[in-house]
């Protein structure tokens, strides 16, 4: 299905990605694959306590050991109030620095308190053990309820609730922010409802689960110039964060991104880089730091555990008349959960005249959360889409029909503020309703119940800042340079855009992710913005090159440039210059050095807006009522992507996001004991989906063109993780008639609920 009118020659095809060969042969270099002559190995000392005052750190024994070249602690990271602006958000560099090496308090189990660099990994870990840290343990605050209790211990003295705190809010608090969205008259709205459903939901803290642990190498030169090799979603942001945290000039730091082994938002903050730089400065040698898998679980940035209360009122005819929601999100050790984004997404799919949505950002003694694919939205959608499902059942309505009836459309004012432009929610829901999956009969196997669920999801997507250059070679090939680490196939998409604009075959376009010295500024790979915003920069850069090529054709033909057009990769003569044979890119490129020299097209993009996007997922779940084990047996993802530049990698995003969401729904959770020690910091006990857990994941690409992008592209990567939590839980309800309000739907929880149901 497509509402896009533009036709394409290259965009929409499925060429082999340029970086693929290196990845199937093992040649691609990731963060841990770098080594330098004279390089030292670092080791980070981490707090065994979830909450403790650091009384003293004695590093003398470690420093005296043979082979130990440097030891650093929080005193090597200056305290700062600096912020780094990123779009409408700002990164708190003081908190990020304190998270990299604690100054006064350890705020979660695994919080870094010191680090060592030595000539071998063995010496480094032995030296780490020789560092004596004296702690004064404090009572840990592990969840929303504990953090909000009247007698709760306060994590950060002096924290005040920003945003719109309630008038009666306590002055000493763990609530970093309260925000609200409101419209209409809530009481009047609910008074007019025939059905009102109110439920409270919880979701656990979960991890992005990227397979590559964080890793970097830092070198401090004799002249004070710093080079960092690292696996990151944004090397410009690494540069600026390290400069701000360490109080050094960003002009002295060069960051070279490695291939990135997954991020999903978790490789936006810096953890190791400032520590590696501090060690390298002291040791006068390059230093490598690599997290173990345990470190990744304990001390990188998972996403918030949540508690969400939702109340939804509808009339008998199905129209939604009022909604209220309160969202409480654990931020981890420092302010900054995605509670606000969750609130803005919660009811974004529906046109509801009266609502109040409030969100709380709450600090607890867990690792500071980082972005995780549509941060905040999946938990909110789990709550709201579960209640929508219940309303549909109560009214005897088809759940897709009910959603269609209330779905937002172009021109509606979104619950979070702006007026929607062209959006594809209705097209997505109609495609889901027409899909064979929705109509297929459910066939239970002996001893198992089977159910079907559906849910919607929404994400804003981001624009932000990007730079790109396109350079032509005399042989008619080109390279395209950007500064966004390629997580899922954006390089081949960018090459396709250059092909589209210049008519150069995609295999003759070389896409490159350049370091911070070699290309203009690019914001992070995040917000589903690379194919959209960086793509726009690429298209503009290619068009710049194309304009220069037309000028060369004009020179060759000796006509004014206005009489040269461009069509399917060729300069063509327009009125007044007709009769001249078109010149191909190759022909023009061959004459470059005789017509004015090399050609580089360049462009920068500052995109405050993006194209918001919706998806709908259908899930069939089989439940063994004797064991509580459930299994997804069929799954379909329908999503509006605006325009699929490389459909295979668009499908891949849809399938990958869905499977992460299925893991979140069924098995994944951080399990802490009462003292705040993580019980499952490994892939054996933190149970992510494996190949035998999943079926094929069917995809339906809907293309409602985004008017902000020359090809109509919308961000793709985040939307698909939003619906699965509710789609799976709604299928579970369909199978068992139990409404689960807490995730994950792990066998013990399911079994207990089935016993209670009887």
């Amino acid at each position: 299905m497509s509402t896009a009118t533009k036709t394409f020659e290259h965009v929409g095809t499925r060429p082999i990605r340029h970086d693929g060969l290196d990845k199937v042969t093992g040649r691609a270099n990731y963060g841990a694959d770098y080594a330098l002559p004279g390089m030292l190995h670092g080791y980070v000392v981490r707090s065994p306590h979830a909450h403790a005052r650091i009384v003293s750190i004695d590093t003398s024994a470690a420093e005296a050991m043979a082979g130990v070249k440097a030891v650093v602690t929080g005193s090597d990271i200056p305290k700062t109030n600096a912020k780094l602006v990123m779009g409408e958000a700002a990164l708190d560099l003081g908190a990020m620095g304190d998270n990299a090496l604690a100054h006064d308090k350890a705020l979660y189990e695994g919080h870094a308190v010191a680090a060592v660099a030595a000539t071998s990994p063995e010496i480094a870990s032995a030296a780490a053990e020789a560092i004596r840290v004296v702690y004064e343990p404090l009572q840990p605050v592990m969840n929303v309820d504990q953090a909000l209790a009247p007698d709760a211990l306060i994590l950060h003295d002096g924290m005040v609730t920003k945003g719109r705190p309630k008038p009666d809010a306590p002055t000493r608090t763990n609530v970093a922010l309260r925000m609200e969205l409101t419209r209409g008259d809530l009481d009047k709205g609910f008074a007019g409802a025939d059905v009102v459903i109110e439920r409270t939901f919880t979701t656990p803290m979960v991890h992005q689960g990227y397979i590559e642990p964080h890793a970097c190498v830092a070198r401090w030169g004799e002249d004070g110039q710093v080079v960092v090799w690292t696996s990151t979603q944004g090397h410009f942001v690494v540069r600026d964060c390290c400069a701000g945290i360490l109080g050094i000039d960003a002009a002295r730091i060069k960051v070279i991104p490695s291939e990135i082994g997954g991020g999903f938002g978790g490789k936006i903050p810096v953890y190791l880089e400032p520590v590696a730089i501090a060690l390298a400065r002291k040791a006068h040698r390059p230093v490598k730091l690599v997290m173990s898998r345990e470190d990744v679980f304990r001390a990188s940035g998972p996403t918030s555990g949540t508690k969400i209360r939702v109340k939804l009122g509808a009339k008998k005819d199905g129209s939604f008349v009022a909604a209220s929601a309160s969202l409480y999100y654990e931020a981890g050790a420092y302010a900054g959960s995605p509670a606000g984004a969750g609130a803005m997404c919660a009811i974004a799919a529906y046109d509801i005249p009266n609502f109040l949505v409030e969100a709380y950002d709450i600090v607890v003694n867990r690792p500071k959360v980082a972005a995780y694919r549509a941060p905040g939205a999946p938990a909110a959608a789990f709550a709201v889409e579960s209640v929508v499902d219940e309303v549909a059942r109560r009214l005897g309505k088809d759940p897709i029909e009910l959603r269609l009836q209330n779905a937002v459309r172009e021109g509606d004012q979104a619950a979070y503020g702006p007026e929607f432009g062209p959006i594809g929610l209705r097209e997505v829901l109609e495609a889901a309703r027409c899909h064979p999956h929705w109509k297929a009969p459910l066939v239970p196997q002996p001893g198992r119940k089977v159910g079907r669920g559906v849910a919607c999801g929404f994400w804003f997507n981001a624009g932000l800042n990007s730079s790109a250059t396109v350079s032509l070679s005399a042989d008619g090939s080109a390279n395209v340079v950007t500064g966004n680490p390629d997580i899922g196939g954006t390089r081949v998409a960018q090459a396709l855009m250059v092909s589209e604009e210049l008519g150069i075959p995609v295999e003759r376009v070389r896409p490159i992710v350049a370091d911070t010295d070699s290309i203009g500024y690019n914001d992070v790979t995040g917000g589903s913005r690379v194919c959209y915003a960086t793509g726009m920069a690429v298209i503009e850069a290619a068009r710049d090159a194309q304009a220069q090529l037309r000028a060369r054709a004009a020179k060759i033909w000796d006509v004014p440039v206005e009489q040269v057009g461009w069509e399917r990769g060729r300069a063509i003569a327009l009125n007044g210059a007709s009769g001249r044979e078109p010149l191909t890119v190759s022909e023009l490129a061959a004459k470059l050095m005789h017509t004015g020299g090399p050609i580089i097209g360049s462009a920068t993009v500052n995109a405050p807006m993006a194209g918001p996007a919706f998806g709908a997922h259908i899930c069939d779940l089989e439940v063994d009522e004797d064991t509580g084990v459930s299994r997804v047996v069929r799954y379909t993802v329908v999503q509006d992507v605006g325009k699929a530049v490389h459909p295979s990698y668009v499908e891949g995003q849809m399938q990958g996001g869905a499977s992460q969401g299925i893991g979140w729904a069924l098995n994944e959770e951080y399990v802490y004991d009462a003292e705040g020690h993580l019980q499952n910091p490994g892939f054996l006990d933190y149970r992510m989906p494996v190949a035998s857990d999943l079926p094929m994941i069917d995809t339906v690409i809907i293309e409602v063109a985004n008017p902000l992008h020359p090809y109509g592209v919308r961000g793709v990567g985040e939307v698909p993780i939003v619906p699965p939590l509710a789609a799976v839980a709604n299928a579970m309800h369909d199978a068992t008639r139990v409404r689960f309000t807490a995730l994950p739907l792990s066998p013990p929880r399911v079994l207990a609920a089935l016993k209670q149901r009887g």
């Binding site: 693929g20 093992g26 694959d33 082994g261 499977s659 892939f683 494996v690």
Partner: protein, 159 residues
């Protein structure tokens, strides 16, 4: 105390010294420069370090380097032949069966091991064989399709 190891890696004789407690994964990556074998967990749970030891699929993080004396190791660097990719590698590219690509070397080695002894696996067999390899990007769909297509290719069948 260091251990002197004489072994065969990717069909080439290799000699190296290692610590007694050093894993094959550490030796491959740090001593021999074979960084195609990745570390995702170091506990045998993710499959990113899959290699073949005398033809048998093992996680290199759970094998001691000293154990490979006199044996044959195949890593991802040895899967292609000259300029010819193994069908699994070619089909991974054609099916877009990788996104970030860090799990890909492990999947390539594991899938080759499957097809070495079963060139006509069912989808279910592929899924269970690859259940020891974690991929967080793809949802496995395109990986499973690539392996089934590679099997067909090796049987001389087009699907």
């Amino acid at each position: 105390m260091t251990v002197h190891v004489r072994t065969t890696i990717n069909a080439e004789p290799q000699e190296f010294l290692c610590e007694p407690g050093e894993t094959l994964l550490e030796a491959l990556r740090s001593r021999l420069g074979l960084t195609g074998t990745k570390e995702g967990c170091a506990t045998g749970d993710c499959g990113a370090c899959s290699v073949l030891l005398d033809g048998r699929l093992v996680p290199a993080c759970l094998v001691l380097a000293a154990e490979v004396s006199g044996r044959e190791v195949l890593t991802v660097e040895g899967v292609a032949t000259g300029d010819t990719l193994h069908p699994v590698q070619q089909k991974f590219l054609e099916h877009a069966a990788l996104q970030c690509g860090v799990c890909t070397p492990g999947f390539v080695v594991a899938a080759k091991a499957l097809l070495d002894h079963n060139d006509d696996p069912t989808e279910e067999q592929v899924r269970y064989w690859l259940a020891g390899n974690l991929c967080r990007c793809t949802g496995y769909d395109k990986i499973v399709r690539a392996v089934l297509d590679a099997a067909a290719d090796m049987r001389g069948v087009t699907v």
